[in-house]
Amino acid sequence: MHDILIQIEAFGAVKQALPETVQMQCLPGTAIADLLLQLNHSYPAAAALVERCACAIGEDIVPRQQTLQHSTTLVLLSPVAGG
């Protein structure tokens, strides 16, 4: 089974704690939660901010229990403050 490539795109405060470009590899079927554990291991200074992020793929907010089947972009949405 081949790894899939997940690009991390960050918005809001968490963006400042991560590099501009983050790409991670994982097996198909990996839960988003497990991928984020891997992310926190690589960037421990971002872990507390990642914990408060919602996740999105495309135009949908997705739960961390969801598994990743294909290469995609996973978006991290920090706590919001519009207006």
Partner: protein, 174 residues
């Protein structure tokens, strides 16, 4: 079926009330609720020089449209629209416009206020403040993560003064 204007809810150029549909399209309505949010020059005692708004547009566009629809049904109003600006904004520039048309003023005010509150607290938009002393920071916001127990109760003063206990928690009046 009436044809209403199609426009982006997240825009990177100066906002205008001309983007919205005219009240004349809604002859049953006798009240307009409008909120225009502008950039002010201070925040928690610090002098603000400018703001930068960013958004994750794919979700933000979808969520604002959902919020508009929900509020129209919830408050029985004919028209609710919200547009939020992104990009670099100077003091005094318009950051958000909400418009609601209703048969009576009370529903128009209610719908307009709830629309603003929900967009501020639920939609993926972020505000970064740039201060006159050269520093900057993201304004503390509302966590929109829904896949963990909603134990968080916060009272940050800029964004809101109410506890967040679940989805669509805001009701008018407070």
């Amino acid at each position: 079926m009436q044809h209403l204007k199609q426009f982006a809810r997240i825009q990177d150029t100066a906002l205008s009330q001309s983007s919205f549909d005219e009240i004349q399209h809604f002859p049953e309505c006798g009240g307009i609720g409008i909120f225009v949010g502008t950039v002010r020059n201070h925040h928690e005692g610090k002098a603000v020089q400018s703001l930068k708004y960013t958004a994750y547009a794919p979700v933000a566009e979808k969520m604002i449209r959902q919020i508009e629809q929900e509020i129209q049904q919830q408050y029985g109003v004919s028209y609710v629209r919200v547009i939020h600006r992104i990009g670099d904004l100077a003091i005094g520039e318009t950051a958000i416009i909400a418009m609601a048309y209703a048969p009576h003023r009370r529903e128009a005010f209610q719908a307009c206020e709830v629309a603003v509150e929900r967009v501020k607290h639920e939609v993926p938009v972020w505000k970064e403040e740039f201060y006159c002393d050269g520093s900057s920071q993201y304004v503390e916001g509302c966590c929109i993560r829904k896949d963990h127990p909603p134990v968080e109760v916060h009272t940050h003063t800029e964004c809101c003064n109410h506890p967040h206990t679940g989805e669509n928690a805001y009701q008018w009046p407070l």
